[in-house]
């Protein structure tokens, strides 16, 4: 309700403000000698490492590999989890039957599942992608089902009275009613997929990817490289989130109205 005049900063610049504050805090931590400079390099050194990595193509390559795995995992998770979530959400007894299993696996660290997946799916790239798919799918499933179950009943009744079939109601009303919640699930899901892909690249072993890069830099105590890779992962996560957010703003224009 405040007028824009009282905030001289333009909206589009606000995220930059957040980043600048973060970098300043970082410099402050270094200046205050809170942490040994070998272990926590300065933002500037990290930037340099990032730039070098981009310039010589290695960081970019690792970045793209991680992007590829994450997106693949998220897409598979979406394809599996959204329809299933709608079915579970609109059939509460089924959800009740599976709730335990879903919550159970949702609460099981994906990294604890690595051995099982390794065993079942082998040591290739598929395994990393599938573990991430598994994790992301559970989160998406949970949110979609939740959104469907908590959808306000009025519009479903309206569609029902118009003679819409169960399937129609599901896809043309329930799905849309639960869209805001679904998007929460998607945003959480893509974040989780990224996390698992990176962790898998770190701990299962991989020839490339940001997780591999973090692992290597860590082994060699090349802290600027390590933070550069971590920040690349963070930035990637942000971009993926943004993607879903933009999609949401376009698709769920009515939310909160």
């Amino acid at each position: 309700m405040r007028s824009a005049a009282s905030f001289p900063i333009r909206d589009s610049l606000l995220p930059v403000v957040g980043v600048v504050v973060l970098v300043l805090l970082w410099y402050a931590a270094i200046a205050a000698k809170l942490v040994d400079p070998v272990l926590l390099p300065s933002p500037w050194e990290t930037m340099k490492a990032m730039w070098t990595g981009v310039a010589d193509g290695t960081l970019l390559h690792d970045f793209l590999r991680t992007v590829e795995r994450t997106i693949l995992a998220t897409l598979i998770a979406m394809v599996l989890a959204i329809p299933l979530g709608i079915v579970l959400g609109s059939w509460p007894r089924l959800y009740l039957a599976l709730e335990f299993v879903i919550d159970f696996f949702r609460s099981t660290p994906a990294s604890a599942m690595f051995p099982l997946f390794l065993v079942v799916f082998g040591v290739g790239d598929e395994t990393k992608i599938l573990v991430a798919t598994f994790g992301a799918a559970l989160v998406i499933l949970f949110n979609v089902a939740y959104g469907v179950m908590n959808a306000r009943k009025n519009r479903l009744l309206a569609a029902k009275v118009m003679g819409a079939s169960r399937a129609r109601i599901l896809f043309e009303v329930t799905l849309l009613e639960s869209l805001p919640q679904t998007f929460v699930g998607l945003r959480n899901g893509v974040s989780l997929a990224l996390v698992i892909v990176v962790v898998a690249e770190m701990f299962i072993g991989s020839a490339d990817g940001l997780g591999h890069r973090v692992f290597e830099a860590q082994q060699l105590l090349q802290m600027p490289d390590m933070y550069a890779a971590i920040f690349a992962a963070g930035a990637l996560g942000y971009c993926l989130n943004l993607l879903f957010q933009v999609a949401e703003r376009r698709l769920v224009h009515w939310s909160g109205k």
Partner: protein
């Protein structure tokens, strides 16, 4: 061209694989290897059990023999890596500024250990052999990647760590080595004795289903082992491309002693058996194994 899938842990102990690969010994034998990068023992052991790889560049013998208890013949050694004072690998280090001349001085220290029950229990056994009881020190396991940072930050005073971390610590002036050949001294009573802590493996299934290919694989492998024994200086340069070892450290990186199984005499095998028996007791294994069953001479 026969295909062989090899689980590779990119560290110095996998050197024969890199030498054989880079010098074309596999090609000579008409073998096309597929490198599957695997971090550490458990994924390697699992992949061997599940028949997803035919061989592994390195597998710690404790883990290998433990695997053989669960599934006999999953891991058969064709070469062994010795660790001792001569071939330093595992060692106690102290951070700069902490007063200690020997392990005995670590009373009251905060000590980190390489992760896994094998390492932790071995560290404890070594400390006990030096008269330090549980409670005289604090020991916590930590991923080796964190060792440098943890000692540098002063969170720990000393550590039971592995190469190449220890070398990097020395180079960067973070810590000094206190004692090497820990296992040989603790288990075999002689720091210069050969403690066969790891080795190159193939699976029994590979050996029986494709005996001819396995033989050629072993031939390439052992040719590389022989190369390393003959000229370690040129061999170790293969680590540059294949592992994380930086150029600056390449000449200082300690390496284990590589032995073809055929080179082992009865005394060595007896020592190997002692080491395995000792380790199995440490980890409370229900049984021990006859190591001869899982050594294959080519």
């Amino acid at each position: 061209q026969d295909k062989v899938k090899v689980g590779v842990f990119p560290v110095a102990t996998s050197l024969p694989y890199f030498v054989a690969l880079d010098r074309g010994y596999f090609k000579e034998q008409k073998i096309e290897v597929e490198t599957v990068r695997l971090i550490g023992g458990p994924p390697t052991a699992a992949a061997l059990i599940a028949d997803q790889i035919d061989a592994a560049s390195v597998l710690v013998t404790l883990e290998g023999m433990n695997t053989n208890i669960k599934k006999p013949g999953a891991a058969v050694y064709i070469s062994l890596n010795s660790q001792s004072e001569t071939y330093p690998m595992e060692q106690f280090v102290v951070r700069k500024g902490f007063q200690a001349k020997s392990i005995k001085d670590l009373k009251g220290a905060k000590i980190l250990s390489a992760p896994g029950p094998g390492n932790v229990l071995m560290a404890k056994a070594a400390l006990e052999a030096n008269g330090l009881k549980e409670g005289d020190y604090r020991l916590e396991q930590l991923d080796t990647a964190q060792h440098l940072g943890a000692l540098k930050a002063g969170t720990f005073d000393a550590g039971y760590t592995l190469e190449p971390t220890a070398t990097m610590m020395r180079q960067q002036g973070i810590a000094d080595t206190l004692e090497t050949g820990v296992i040989a001294r603790t288990v075999l009573g002689d720091p210069k004795a050969d403690a066969f802590v790891g080795g190159g493996v193939i699976s029994t299934r590979f050996m029986t289903e494709r005996p001819e290919v396995a033989k050629r694989y072993a031939a390439a492998w052992l040719k590389a082992v022989a190369d390393i024994r003959k000229d370690p200086e040129s061999a170790r340069r293969h680590l540059l491309k294949n592992t994380l070892v930086p150029e600056s450290a390449i000449n200082d990186i300690p390496m284990p002693g590589f032995f073809a199984v055929s080179q082992l005499d009865d005394k060595s095998i007896g020592q190997f058996q002692r080491f395995i028996d000792f380790s199995m007791k440490l980890i409370n294994a229900p049984e021990t194994v006859d190591v001869r069953k899982y050594l294959k001479t080519y």
